[in-house]
């Protein structure tokens, strides 16, 4: 089993090929490399920590079952993230309290401190992505995370969520606008008036 010592030095695609041949230790190395990314994505999508861990485990087990489908066209991490994102959507749809098909009211998210207090307040709002995502409405957070974290296209996200494409695009756009405001560099252009294209 000298190969075991070389696993950490191997490329993801090589490890996936070994895993496809039944090498569970090779797949274990992939889990060690990408486990945090998958768990992080699920948390950013809105999962509770325990749920995120369970779903991340399920995603990796599903990935092992389907490992022959991974052909190295994209990264392994992106591939597992897509599996995890879809699993979370399924979980979310079972327990969802929010109807994605319904238009959500515009949350009270506009900066309350303008003028001279604005810059100081924006500095206080210099928070990381995880905190910024918490400020989004649930469907916005889910749609933004699916498209930017999970790597799904708008159409794929709409299909996964069983929601109209226009609704998903609308949630993504609103979510991006809010994130742009939240993540604006202090003292710089906060981009409040900018709009996302495409």
């Amino acid at each position: 089993m000298a190969l075991k010592h070389t696993l950490p030095a191997m490329h993801d695609v090589e490890l996936a090929a070994l895993a496809a041949g039944g090498r569970r230790d090779a797949f274990g190395e992939l889990v060690r490399r990408h486990g945090s990314a998958v768990r992080g994505l699920l948390l950013r999508m809105g999962a509770q920590p325990a749920t995120a861990d369970d779903l991340a485990q399920d995603a990796f087990l599903a990935a092992f079952e389907q490992i022959t489908d991974f052909r190295g066209e994209g990264t392994f991490q992106a591939w597992v993230k897509r599996i995890a994102a879809r699993l979370y959507v399924r979980h979310w749809r079972k327990a969802a309290h929010v109807d994605l098909l319904a238009e959500t009211p515009e949350p009270d998210d506009a900066p309350r401190h303008d003028g001279e207090e604005g810059a100081a307040h924006r500095a206080a709002l210099r928070i990381d992505l995880d905190e910024a995502l918490k400020a989004l409405a649930e469907p916005e957070r889910l749609c933004v995370s699916l498209c930017y974290g999970g790597g799904l296209s708008h159409a794929e996200a709409a299909e996964a969520l069983n929601a109209p494409l226009g609704t998903v695009k609308s949630h993504v756009k609103r979510g991006l606008d809010k994130l742009r405001r939240r993540l604006a560099p202090p003292g710089g252009d906060d981009g409040v008036e900018r709009r996302v294209h495409g």
Binding site: G28, R32, R39, R44
Partner: protein
């Protein structure tokens, strides 16, 4: 793509740090091993049951009698006098006990075959 979206992509690509990352990987690995072992046991058990049913069918179909009659009418193969072996194995035993012995032998053959297949797989 807008500059902000590129930045957002980058932020999403940066995974948070988990202190229990090693534990998580271990949990996935042990689940994987457990699933694998369960699957192997189920397949092995199904194979064993199938083998035993097959051997049972062969024994109950009276193939032994056919073999016995064939060996009796085939003096050109004296070294494979099955009836001789069958006679020794079955000597002093009831037909049911004799069948049980044959089934046991078949089970051993299946077990050895499974062990060899596992050995080959591990290699």
């Amino acid at each position: 793509m807008a500059e902000f979206e590129i930045r957002l992509d980058r932020m999403f690509a940066e995974p948070p740090t988990f202190e229990d990352a090693g534990t998580f990987a271990g949990q996935v690995q042990s689940k994987l091993n457990r699933n694998w072992t369960t699957r192997r046991l189920v397949i092995g058990a199904l194979g064993g049951v199938g083998g035993l049913i097959g051997v049972g069918q062969i024994v109950s179909s009276g193939v032994m009698g056919h073999v016995k009659s064939l060996t009796a009418t085939a003096p050109s193969i004296p070294s494979i006098d099955f009836s001789h072996w069958h006679g020794h194995l079955g000597a002093g035993l009831s037909p049911a006990t004799s069948s049980a012995i044959w089934l046991g032998l078949a089970a051993i053959v299946i077990a050895v075959a499974l062990a060899i297949s596992r050995l080959i797989e591990d290699l």
